[in-house]
């Protein structure tokens, strides 16, 4: 467990600049909250809140899809895996790292959101539920991206991830709504996007649980693939 934690913290440390940039969006929301006349501009605030929420999911795909690649490209992965670290532990560390990175963001967003939206009349607890949805969506999206990145470069990994996450959403729109839950990243994001002051939504935990279970499945799949990968072979 210790190597997993170390790798996760190290990942967050290495990604501190992207995380910092991401946090600037939260800062933007906070500034808006300070500057705005909250009762009057409350719809705008909610709109910005939703926008800023979606970025973190995109970033989780970026984090997951580029982690192994950049470590291999810089060859730093060799010194790490020359220690008593198995490949599963390494992957777990990266998943945990992506989760912590997105968790930091969601926590900051949750704080700012519950203050600004809370003041505008949005139930505070519901803000935190939406953050839980986001974290779960990030964990799943990041793990899917990580799985593809074990054998694809970040560009293709991101594309493949978008496809895997987007197809159920498309099927949900065209075939039957239940399909959207097959890989529930879209449905989790949709919970955030659909919320409004009049209908803030309820705390439905099923998609979150499903996302966590699927995350484990994708993690196991990536471990199976990564186990076979020649990591010392140069990447372009």
């Amino acid at each position: 467990m210790k190597p997993v934690l170390l790798i996760a913290i190290n990942f967050v440390r290495e990604q501190r600049w992207p995380i910092f940039v991401l946090l600037l969006w939260v800062l933007l929301l906070a500034v808006l909250g300070l500057a705005a006349n909250i009762p009057r501009d409350r719809e705008d605030l909610l709109f910005v809140f939703k926008q800023v929420s979606i970025y973190v999911v995109a970033f989780s795909i970026f984090f997951g899809g580029s982690a192994i690649y950049s470590e291999r490209k810089s060859r730093r992965i060799l010194a790490v895996l020359s220690k008593g670290v198995s490949r599963q532990q390494y992957l777990s560390g990266l998943v945990l790292g992506v989760t912590i990175a997105c968790g930091i963001y969601c926590f900051a967003l949750g704080l700012t959101g519950s203050w600004t939206l809370g003041e505008a009349g949005f139930p505070m607890l519901q803000v935190w539920f939406l953050m839980a949805c986001l974290v779960a969506a990030c964990m799943l999206a990041g793990t899917v991206a990580l799985m593809f990145s074990t054998f694809l470069n970040p560009f293709f990994a991101a594309g493949a991830t978008a496809l895997v996450l987007g197809l159920p959403a498309l099927a949900g729109q065209t075939v039957a709504p239940r399909w959207a839950d097959a890989i529930p990243v879209y449905s989790l994001v949709a919970i955030v996007l659909r919320s409004s002051y009049r209908f803030p939504g309820r705390a439905v935990w099923f998609p979150i649980l499903l996302a966590l279970v699927e995350m484990l499945i994708f993690w196991a799949l990536s471990a199976q693939i990564f186990w076979r990968v020649d990591i010392a072979v140069a990447v372009e």
Binding site: L6, N10, V80, K83, A232
Partner: protein
């Protein structure tokens, strides 16, 4: 006895796009005994780093298998007892001491003993005064020293070093040499890939020369260097032209003759009015052996198979 490192009929083919393939190791077998310093030599592209990466579990052999400290390659628990230094050292940009602690912790160490050990190994590689500087600002040699410290932090039973001194200054080279000899005295095994033949000659108990992915020479260093079938004779007051392939320095003519013919040669020297300075079995340098073992013409794309 369990071998420290063992390759059994290992082959490795790198696959590129389409049908392009490159055979880096071909039916490669080697056994490194515990407690020895083993020199691993070979020309550029011979397959040394490939073999090392297979042993560390960074890659899987195309065929064949191998063991490290008794377990198959790629076992994470076994790697806790191993130290590794890659040929291109790449480390995170952190302060040296924290970095070394990080790698120690990855090997399951912790607490005050890890802090103590980190300072100790940085001192061993001569970086104690730099331990609070960021590794990202280090020179290449300093980075390689940090790499050494990182490899040593878990007090490994088996050290696998891929050209550990390529960027080091002469003083640091001597220090590393002493470090390796000291480690051997403690019963550690060292697998050392290097192009510095003089260094290998000085410290390695055994060496293997590989070429095109196969072992072409293997043996105890002393035996390889010792050439029992020729005798080296030095004499004064004779002309260098009197003996074939002789060299002259400060009036001393040196040449070698097949063993068994030294008596006749000595008499000939005396008959010519010469005076014998020394008679010794011929010792070759590792360089001679290296050149001889790898002299078959090698083109850079030698391993290409379609």
């Amino acid at each position: 006895m369990v071998a420290a490192l063992e390759f059994v009929a290992v082959s490795k083919i790198y696959r590129g796009f389409g049908a392009r393939q490159l055979q880096a190791l071909n039916d490669f077998s080697l056994r490194v005994e515990p407690g020895e310093i083993f020199g691993f030599l070979g020309p550029n592209g011979a397959g040394k780093s490939t073999a090392i990466h297979l042993a560390m579990g960074f890659m899987r052999p195309t065929s064949g298998y191998g063991r490290m400290l008794g377990t198959p390659f790629g076992n994470a628990r076994t790697r806790r007892r191993v130290g590794f230094l890659a040929e291109n050292v790449a480390l995170y940009h952190r302060r040296a001491e924290r970095l070394v602690r990080f790698y120690g912790a990855l090997s399951g160490m912790g607490g005050p003993s890890l802090s103590k050990r980190s300072r100790e190994v940085l001192e061993l590689v001569g970086l104690e005064s730099q331990s609070n500087r960021n590794v990202g600002k280090f020179s290449r040699g300093m980075l390689q020293r940090t790499g050494c410290a990182q490899a040593l932090v878990n007090d490994p039973e088996l050290l696998i070093l891929d050209e550990p001194t390529s960027a080091l200054d002469p003083l640091a080279r001597v220090a590393v040499r002493e470090l390796l000899l000291h480690s051997r005295a403690q019963g550690k095994t060292i697998f050392l890939s290097s192009h510095l033949l003089s260094e290998v000659e000085l410290i390695c108990d055994r060496v293997a020369v590989i070429n095109r992915g196969q072992v072409v020479r293997l043996g105890r260093t002393a035996d390889l260097l010792h050439c029992a079938d020729r005798i080296k004779i030095s004499a004064r007051h004779i002309s260098a032209q009197s003996f074939e392939e002789s060299s002259e320095e400060n009036g001393v003519v040196t040449f070698s003759v097949p063993a068994g013919s030294e008596r006749a040669t000595l008499e000939r020297v005396w008959n010519l009015g010469g005076e014998i300075v020394s008679v010794n079995p011929l010792r070759r340098s590792l360089e001679d052996i290296f050149v001889e073992a790898t002299s078959a013409p090698v083109s850079m794309d030698q391993g290409m198979v379609q």
